[in-house]
Symmetry: C3
Subunit: 526 residues, 3 copies
């Protein structure tokens, strides 16, 4: 089990060195789990590392596919942009273009793109190379060198050659390409393309598959994670089975992180500054079943960000943001990119309750896997709070979540009873089954996207909201320290309300059944 | 039908000139439709143009009135500020004041006003006149000249004379006034007053009446629009009929755009910078039945604005914001002020689904009127996205909206059936009619503002929310590219929930009727 | 009754001097009521004033305690940080530390804290002392002198001695301490500790107890207020009685203002700039039962803040923000810290509807107490709006709120009827009592935090939401001038919906009772 180093040191009265500010590698270490999973040594050459990662990344058997329900659905026109690796084909523009012509023509045709690219590091590497150490972006000189090392190792750059610029063709036709055919050579880059240059970051991200292995199988291996987010989308039963494909593609829009890096680094500026701000997470991490952004913003953490964020130096890497950049409160990235004092693109190493608090987690929190992750969190919080404060707040988080799980389980028993007794409204007269591969159930997830006849009945929908949304609201509210967020506004009180409605309906339906029985007896006196 | 010029050019391999950045008039053209409607030549002199527009603008027969239900309601004290042209009378301060005295006295009495005005261009035209071309506000020198040309044409300024300053009296007593009586000469300016100087902008805004002419009469002529927004308010049946006039005036507060320019350019700074920011739209364009602001902010468009907006030069006009101002993502204004590459104050030229998706729109999308507007949108989106991307996303927008309209129509049939069969709760025993001029209906709009006895019944309110609010949430969510906004958070899932509740209630009420019939038969055996 | 000075002056044509910008004390006056309550002269020496205030502040009989239901609940581990005066004990670190060692060690152990402190005025008083009058923070030189005067008066600083720095030990071990034992000497500061230096602000805050004395006893003396916010929490029946203590502590997190100053001035920067921004209020003042922040942000006031706030000088004190700082629209602080042209930490001097509109307020608005406060508000609004505008908008606020109170009272009558007639679902078969000290009631407040069996029934929860949340949403929406906020989005329409549901359920339950009676008669013919 992890030892909380800072705390021990403090007790011992030894030289006080914290978790932040210690000498450390220039970048976060890629987790060991990835090397183990791929059978590689930690000092594998860039080309070897890349080949192993990208082979798995693009393997249809390992998630680069339409998934288990592939036969049930067809892509729509827009799908080619969501999963280009599966569905993209170049436009019907069958002519050759040079690297320079791409930029020149698109300056006229789609100027917005070009303006964004012009503001990116990609468009002017020499600007970075000319920075002095006083500039916050100076650290990017090292990143460029890393990129060049990677490309040399992969044979895409000559030894000693400098990368000139990263233009349209490099990503859309191949690194170093002089040009190509606008129809047959054009492709939409995936994370594997970005990973050729940004290998460290790609490796970190792909390591999510290897660290999200739940000890009691609460989630499938490697999930929930950004690395397998699109597979998770495609393998959601109702997603695959529902008829309205454009609505389904709305879900897909947030599950793109598996396929692309521009879910967070919006194209074509691919800004690190943007990706460091809480808003970068907001498009996907908001709303009824994962209200992280709202809860962060309403917390005191969010207040400090809003009130002082404009004074912070966002150009600095996360690791230096507090010490050198004037940051005084955490963003999403501060806590979720950090592990053991380092920062990287694996965001699931400390996940405990995950994306769905459930009984099988609540019952196993004393398992070493969960305990270790808790200690990792305590270390995170302890960068600003005392160890004791952090521990006592973790008790709040866990106990509130456990309380909420219990309320859900109570309601589940009532709902299952009604279902088993066939007392739900219309259950025996008008209950069409949900579309394949979804299975009929009391308050199934499908109710959020499909409904017909009396499937689901109104009270079942209430239960679906309860276990799928309110429970998450409670957890996300307390985990992000938004007081109203886990008490009355959108969480505990509303969780209770759903239990109240369920018990109310239970009483009502059973009284109705009794009344019908009395009428039946009156009609058929013995 | 509009030809998508950029796309054709690209195919042809001809010189690539985009929609933005081409040589163009200094300002957006006033749409032809306005000149046609007013029987004017495009080169009409400013005074001629102004007189024609303002005559229509202030015509009680054309919307400058209490509207069709005028007899049913009376203004409250606050109404004089909402519709000053109809209700304002000067305060009981019967003395003469000079232009200078206005400022001096109000510096003490209402200093906030004066501070705002002091920051406005109005208070110091010479500051603008002294700018060099390097200043982003340099373009305002042309605007001042335009204003002076207009005033000369109207006889309010001598040929060659410079406008000195725009002070209290100019707007509140008359352009160039030396002073006046604080009771009898004081008025609250309307858009027609602003239009004397800002004729181009006034004309653009007023052209909304002429471009919002729906081909199948889905909306009344000229609506929905800012130009007739107050009339739309006054002619809403339940608005006119409801008893609580102060609540009604809450609606009015957003419908002021017809009467004033300071709905967007907050008085007394009347800032263009403010009006270019998404928040300028937010007070009116948020909430359950028009959640544009929330959806924009949660979209990637909004994220780019939040993350990078502080680096953009907001002083530049919209047309130059990307190329010269560093803007890299769209705001509300970027897309809704634009038409055919130009920017102006007619915001309804591209409206298709409008403020209420409905079957009569869904069924006519292949009509030229809708097709043309779609092409105009594609051109807008294509400033940053490929034509093909834009088209495929438009399929998403339209199909999601059509799917949602269908769900509403299904529910409408069920609701109408219950209503026709007189099965709604309390329908035969306790259903008072809504106040005139509203008519009793199953799930009428009036339910949002009036309720009595069992009118409406609970399930009807649910239906009103469904067709009036959730449907809009679905459409506004998908149209603004907020994934959660059109799927589970506030839209598709909730639309389904309302359908679920309606079918649940239908089953329940019909089973209850059957049970009552069985009891009746038991009581009255034949 | 207060005379509206500016208005009279304006009428008289006398020299126009406004409420702002007049010669005035450097800081807001401490309200007379505090001196009267404590039996002090206004010119009492700092040590005398402090002793009197802090004695009352820390008096268990006057709110520094677990409150009236103390026997019913126990603190959890986290409670020590919420109410340190009651529950805090130092960590198990039994060794001596010097002032310097605190900083040095915590730089390693909890660097976030130290970074925040390093940015605070506390860490470098000499920086303030070296400012020239041109600096916006220059006024803080006077504040430091006031602090020093206070400390000299209390014997904590020698006459003529300068305060060097405010470090960890000064607040956590005692002002001027050289160091201490990390276990036994360490404490978490309360507002009384801050008040030794910041006496004026402490006195202002504590005066809330003396000015919130309601003329018809609508609220207990001194409440609602920040000064007695924790007592209010502890004396809420369901808070004390509920089983889930961690959920309860979620409520506590917002009620800390009584115990600490860092509810608004986040530790350890304790920034005035932060506390001047609307977001400082947001963590506590948002959500279903006090949506102030959301309503402000959606109002035109909020829009001006969002659009222009980055141009304003936030370092200036509130009183100078408009005149010298370029502020052009109000924040929360502009209006709620102001009274009679002065700004201070008593935020309840103008409270009228308070935290819960109720009939006993609606019926007494013509009482002098309410009238005086209304006039004080009119004076506030009149800094930017005309007196007449302000008055007419106050009519809107009051009438909308009265209308909403009436809707609640109508619903209350229906609910009470069902309760009295024992017709609520499960009322006679499955209604356990709420935990002590809560009492069973139709739609009691407890329903938001506790539920069991059919207590409450579903319709009661609806009523609780109606009177506790929607009513507040209506009031807060209209009071903060957010049109959608008091009409359709979260307020009037939803208030009606709850009334609709209540009447629907009333009809349904009474019809069901009648049906049961008919069945009973059929079963037992006479």
């Amino acid at each position: 089990m992890r030892v909380f180093a800072g705390f021990i040191k403090r007790i011992a009265g030894a030289a006080c060195l914290g978790l932040v500010g210690m000498a450390a590698p220039a970048q976060a270490e890629i987790p060991d789990e990835l090397f183990a999973a791929l059978g590689l040594e930690r000092n594998a050459a860039p080309n070897v590392l890349y080949e192993a990662i990208v082979k798995r990344y693009r393997d249809p058997e390992q998630g680069y596919s339409k998934g288990a329900f592939a036969d049930l659905w067809e892509p729509i026109a827009f799908s080619k942009y969501m999963s280009p690796g599966l569905f993209y084909e170049g436009p019907d523009l069958d002519f050759e273009v040079s690297a320079r012509e791409c930029v020149e023509c698109h300056q006229g045709v789609t100027p917005g793109w070009v303006h964004s690219w012009e503001k990116s590091v990609h468009s002017d590497l020499d600007e970075i190379r000319s920075l002095t150490p006083a500039d916050s972006r100076f650290y990017k000189q090292d990143l460029i060198k890393q990129v060049e090392t990677n490309l040399v190792s992969m044979g895409l750059l000559d030894e000693g050659q400098q990368l000139e610029e990263v233009g349209c063709v490099d990503c859309h036709m191949g690194i170093g390409a002089e040009g190509g055919n606008h129809k047959t050579d054009l492709h939409m880059p995936d994370a594997g393309d970005c990973g050729q240059c940004h290998l460290q970051q790609f490796a970190e991200r792909e390591s999510e598959r290897d660290t999200a292995i739940w000890p009691q199988g609460q989630w499938p291996d490697g999930r929930p994670s950004h690395a397998l987010s699109m597979l998770a989308n495609y393998e959601t039963a109702i997603w695959a089975g529902m008829e309205e494909r454009e609505v389904a593609e709305g879900c897909t829009m947030c599950h793109t992180a598996q396929n692309t890096c521009n879910s967070c680094h919006t194209r074509h500026e691919f800004s690190a500054v943007e990706a460091r701000k809480p808003e970068a997470c907001s498009t996907c991490h908001n709303g009824v079943d994962h209200p992280e952004f709202e809860n962060f913003m309403m917390s005191k953490h969010g207040v400090v960000y809003t009130a002082h964020g404009d004074e912070w130096d966002w150009e600095l890497p996360l690791k230096e943001a507090f010490e050198k950049g004037g940051q005084t409160g955490p963003t999403c990235q501060t806590c979720h990119f950090e592990n053991d004092g380092e920062y990287g693109h694996n965001l699931v190493q400390k996940v405990r309750w995950g994306f769905q608090p459930m009984k099988s987690i609540a019952d196993n929190l004393d398992h070493e896997w969960f305990e270790d992750r808790k200690e990792a969190w305590i270390a995170t919080c302890s960068q600003c709070h005392s160890d004791r404060f952090a521990r006592s707040y973790f008790e709040v988080i866990d106990n509130v979540t456990i309380d909420a799980v219990e309320k859900v389980e109570e309601a589940r028993t009532v709902m299952q009873g009604l279902y088993d007794d066939k007392l739900l409204v219309g259950q025996t007269t008008n209950r069409p089954p949900p579309p394949e591969p979804s299975k009929d159930a009391a308050g199934g997830f499908y109710a959020l996207f499909w409904a017909e006849g009396n499937n689901p009945s109104a009270i079942e929908y209430e239960f679906t909201e309860m276990w799928e949304q309110r429970l998450m609201s409670v957890f996300k509210g307390v985990a992000h320290a938004n007081p109203g967020g886990f008490t009355y506004t959108n969480a505990w009180s509303q969780l209770l309300r759903q239990g109240i409605r369920i018990r109310d309906e239970d009483t009502r339906l059973r009284e109705r059944a009794a009344m019908l029985e009395r009428i039946r007896k009156l009609e058929n006196p013995e």
